[in-house]
């Protein structure tokens, strides 16, 4: 560790997918990069996540970031090792009634205007595409460009690429203080670097007090292998029912086919829960919701249940950029439920800021200095 002092241009706190993507991008730009993590790569939210690479349209800024990042994943696709399990399986947003079908049409028009291919499925087409779904349902929206990855392997791959370009990894080192060009570790060592990036996920506010990042807990269930049960990532389109939900716990139907033929069943979100225990009540609600859409899930064998914490911000947009009070400190966190998707775009924006180059998309919406307005769909 001693050799590090003063030798890094950039020190990244956190080896989750965001920190890993940033490390690779900055190493590509010939910066001397150090990555520090209290545990092992992807041990945080990244290791707990579903890995849906998805274009979203809750806001224009969310669309821009997810879309940009999705194209970056597509560009990387051929280089990704097999264990990243990249699968361009597409998403189907499932509509159960007329109101949700109207949402399908709106969403389709929105994506179409922005050159994202979609296909509207009527009831029969939906059933044909996903015979396991309860029939008849109203229809759905197929977004064929969305994909699925195994997030932990992706993060490990990014770090491996970064290391091949000279980045240094310091694992099992907890940071107790980050700022003013200095990083203090639990073991008393300090590391110096020209720039610091706080990419510590849901724990980011512990290292940079005052930033608005809070943990948001989620549960997931993985089943045994059932080839051919589900073909696309299936997500409910229940926006219209979710208007007043800022504070309550919630669950949604969200099922993902893994390349291993396993199914990942989600999802739940809760604020204010700090323990990582599996909570039977929320787990049960989440599964019941999934059974409503895919009744045959009931009989499938579940191997494991786990939880994770998303780094959430009030306006559902990440914090990417300088932290004003401290000219050496940058933030790359707050990606909530989209950090796997948006990790690559985040790294590009971060590099643009650090290298003073022009970003591909406007970065103002993600700057930590912005005014945050709580999102009604939060």
């Amino acid at each position: 560790m001693t050799g590090l002092t003063g030798t890094a241009d950039v020190l990244i706190a956190g080896a989750g997918i965001v920190g890993a993507a940033c490390a690779w991008e900055l190493a590509k730009a010939h910066l001397r990069v150090a990555v520090v993590d209290q545990s092992f790569p992807a041990s945080g939210a990244t290791g707990a996540a579903m890995g849906h690479i998805v274009v979203m349209d809750d806001s224009e800024a969310q669309f821009a970031l997810t879309r940009y990042s999705q194209t970056l994943w597509d560009e990387l696709r051929d280089d990704l090792p097999a264990n990243v399990e990249f699968d361009r399986c597409g998403t189907i947003w499932v509509a159960t009634d007329e109101a949700e079908l109207a949402e399908v049409r709106r969403k389709s028009a929105y994506y179409c205007e922005r050159a994202v291919p979609t296909e509207i499925l009527d009831s029969a087409a939906l059933q044909n595409a996903e015979p396991s779904l309860l029939a008849p349902l109203a229809g759905g929206l197929l977004v064929p460009g969305d994909s699925v990855v195994y997030p932990a392997a992706a993060a490990a791959y990014f770090l491996e690429r970064a290391a091949a370009l000279g980045a240094k990894l310091h694992l099992g080192k907890r940071i107790t203080k980050l700022g003013q060009g200095t990083t203090r570790l639990e073991d008393g060592t300090t590391l110096e670097a020209g720039k610091l990036i706080n990419a510590s996920g849901q724990l980011a506010a512990k290292l940079t007090p005052g930033i608005q990042v809070k943990p948001r807990k989620g549960h997931l269930v993985i089943t045994d292998r059932y080839p051919g049960t589900v073909h696309h990532q299936l997500v409910e389109l229940g926006y219209l029912k979710s208007a007043h939900s800022v504070a309550t716990d919630s669950v949604a139907f969200n099922v993902q086919p893994r390349k291993t033929s396993q199914l990942l069943i989600g999802s739940s979100r809760q604020y204010g829960v700090e323990h990582d225990k599996v909570e039977p009540v929320i787990l049960s609600r989440m599964l019941q919701r999934a059974f409503e859409y895919i009744p045959k899930l009931r009989a499938l064998s579940a191997i494991r249940v786990w939880t994770g914490f998303r780094p959430a911000t009030p306006d559902k947009l990440p914090l990417i950029g300088p932290c004003l009070e401290d000219p050496t400190l940058y933030l790359a966190t707050g990606h909530e439920g989209l950090g796997i998707t948006t990790s690559l775009a985040t790294a590009k924006l971060m590099a643009a800021q650090i290298l003073n180059s022009a970003p591909k998309i406007p970065m103002e919406p993600y700057l930590p200095s912005r005014q945050m307005v709580a999102d009604v769909h939060a």
């Binding site: 992807a42 939900s245 989600g266 979100r269 787990l283 049960s284 009931r298 191997i303 494991r304």
Partner: protein, 438 residues
Amino acid sequence: MQQTFEIVVIGGGPAGIAAAVAASQSSKRVAVLDDNPRVGGQIWRGGPGLAQPKAAARWFYQLETANVRVFNGARVIHADASARTLQAETTREIFPIGYQNLILATGARELFLPFPGWTLPNVMGAGGFQALVKSGLPIAGKRVVVAGTGPLLLAVAAYLCDHGANVARICEQASSSSLAAFALRMLAFPGKLREALSLRYKSRFAKYATQSWPVSAHGKISLESITISESGRLREIPCDYLACAFHLIPNTELPRMLGCHLNQEAFVETDELQQTLHQGIYCAGEPTGIGGVELSTIEGRIAGHAAANDKRAAAKLFPARARYRKLAAAMKQAFRLRPELATLAKPDTFLCRCEDVTLHQVRQHNSWKSAKLHTRCGMGPCQGRICGAAANFLFGWNIESARPPVFPARCESLAAISSLTSSLTTETEPPQFHGGFQ
């Protein structure tokens, strides 16, 4: 409707049966849950229907005539200590069981150690193999090698010989000097010694080799032969089956889920009444230390009496327990696994057979969690029971916390584990649903 019992025993092996019988001597309502079709556990598997040792027949009779409700084929997949409920799954349903006092008698499973070829068909765990034979696998005339360590090798070999198998060899990894020392200690247990001699008599045509262990297994489609190391020399033995058991490791998933404390050797910690650090939760049999069937039944009886609040009856059994714990200690000493066994696997040997993960892949990591996340080791249907235990032996990695489901369970069963908890919480609002988040 939830059924509630004053005393619930999980596990219907020797410890669980003894616990239930002892507990039922009070007037308390007692239930036993076991995930096999019949009670009996590892050693008396198959239950009262089969030819069993005398001791087993006595216990089965006592259980049948006792006022105990037995749930066969019921696997406990979740336990909630604060709500004092369990959720049990059968092939048809999931049901909650309430308890006031709980006795954990979840037993042990065999430790598998990876060596080249260990995943070939017909290389099996000794207990699992014996269970297959009990359920009808024809074995007469088949050539079998029994390998591993501990007294159970002899028990399995004798059983197989009784059923007409041609047991070619019993490979015991311990040295002859530690076996000799153990035999001396056994002199204080004439009953056990007689039993061992009788088992050896039954398997007398099989060569019993010490300082001997499997190095690799060979075969095109299934097992054809194995190479063993015997007193330093390699030897190839043709065989149809290899029954392996490198001793037993305790099933502590459920105790851990309930928050019971484990000691340094990863056994459940109990007081002299077999009570865990959790008031009202007792543990008996192999999870508190590998000790064999006698110790298991004595601990079971103590736990049963204690849970029924008959401390006097429990205390009467303390001397017997102390005696058998000495035997257990001697056994542990004699059959300690030699370090060479950690070097059998080659870089390309699978450590995790559910997910086909090699030793080389796993070795890149420095914790079980990291290895699991990045290699998928332990992510399959055995939930890491096999490879996690092997990794613990090979690398000294700690096991992780236990989460529901304790065993793989149907999704609908998992959804039902909240049935009691939810009725206790104040949350009555209808759920609100949202779309489109990850």
